[in-house]
């Protein structure tokens, strides 16, 4: 299973490097959204809860928009059939796609978060705190990756694919957003940051675990015919 998952992941990364369909579009969307927020909120500097909210909601929307491509490409080029014909374990596809989405999100954040810090964030936290920010984002990305893969697979074979994925995915992501926002907000104040309430990391962890289990149990049903 691991080898098949690695093979699929490598293929997806190679395809993304070569065609660049997903990450650049998500990045562009994110940066544009920051600009929209600046003008919409009429603020040049954000901190604390407002900053966490703008950053996280933008990332969430970007991820859900990018998620439709995850399986759509397989759908269009018949890659799904090719995988189903092989003796590879079905779960390998779930693991590979979730891992790919996680890496895409990480790549997105590597660009988006510094830009956010520069153009929208106020004085902002110290260097060490950024590590904690990264940790929270990583936990969130895990949840985004699993839910995104599940929703993408669900939407891939439907008619209004680009609409179904967001409207199903976004409500599902609300608990993760709540937890991430509450965890992130204290860190985005200038100077001495607030402590991250461990409770919210626990909620994020619970969320990730529950959805990972659900995805593992249900994914096969989305693949067969």
């Amino acid at each position: 299973m691991r080898r098949a998952a690695a093979t699929i992941l490598r293929k997806d990364l190679r395809l993304e490097r070569r065609t660049g369909e997903t990450v650049p579009a998500m990045a562009l969307f994110t940066l544009t959204a920051f600009v929209l927020f600046h003008f919409g909120l009429q603020r040049g500097e954000l901190d604390g809860e407002l900053a966490a909210g703008v950053l996280l909601v933008t990332l969430l929307l970007a991820s859900v928009l990018g998620v439709t491509r995850l399986f759509a490409a397989e759908q269009e080029e018949g890659g799904l059939d090719a995988f189903l014909l092989s003796p590879a374990d079905r779960t390998a596809l779930l693991v590979a796609k979730a891992a790919a989405l996680f890496l895409f999100l990480a790549a997105l954040e590597l660009v988006a978060v510094p830009v956010f810090a520069v153009i929208l964030l106020g004085p902002g936290p110290s260097a060490g705190t950024w590590l904690e920010v990264a940790g929270i984002l990583a936990l969130l990305d895990l949840g985004l990756a699993v839910v995104g893969t599940l929703v993408s697979a669900l939407a891939a074979q439907t008619r209004a694919r680009e609409l179904i994925a967001p409207i199903v995915g976004l409500p599902l992501l609300v608990p993760a957003l709540i937890a991430a926002a509450h965890a992130l907000a204290p860190l985005l104040y200038a100077g001495a940051p607030g402590a991250v309430p461990g409770r919210w990391l626990a909620v994020l962890g619970l969320y990730d675990s529950v959805f990972a289990l659900l995805a593992y149990a249900l994914f096969d049903f989305l693949l067969e015919d």
Binding site: R3, A4, K11, R18, E77, G78, A82, L85, S86, E224
Partner: protein
Amino acid sequence: MGAGAPPAIEVAGLARRHGERRALSGVSFAVPAGATLAVFGANGAGKSTLLRVLASLLRPHAGTVRVLGEELPRAAWKVRGRVGFAGHEPLLYRALSPRENLTYHARLHSTGAERVEAVLAEAGLRARAEDPVRTLSRGMVQRLAVCRAVLHDPEILLLDEPRANLDPAGAAALAPLLAGRTTVLTSHDPARGLAGADLALGLAGGRQAFLAPAAELSASDVERLYA
């Protein structure tokens, strides 16, 4: 092919719905190991559906399907590595090269890289092995698709209109790769289809119109399906 050896493919009373419509109904046949079955029928008669059921891409809604002694879909996982399928779609990534595509499939099937090179050479695709698939002609794409189907050296081969888009050179290049396997293929060319087959199955509206050794049928028997 010894006498008394179980058939490579056994289908009995196969039925498959597509929504309200009957895509396949009451289809029954057996293909001995090493034999070739040609499936004829007009568009929409159920040929592609039948092949996809045999490939375990679709599950039967009624009846039994046995491939290499294993019942589908329950034991499909046991035979996936021993069946090759080339359908309407080439199942290739257009942005990747032939070599990359075949290597990907080889790894999924736990097949070695040498086999990829051997198949590329045999099919005459060595020269274009590094170019993205979207730059290849339709004939070459079809050749590559068949390569993908035989890459893991399957005992059973399922080909949906294998001659589509192929030039005579391409067909000739592929012939050795296809030989020696139990084959089920669909065909729109009655004369040629019958010539290359041991058994012939005719489908009309999902139902079995005829099943007979190819030698006993003439092209006009098949053409009646298109009336």
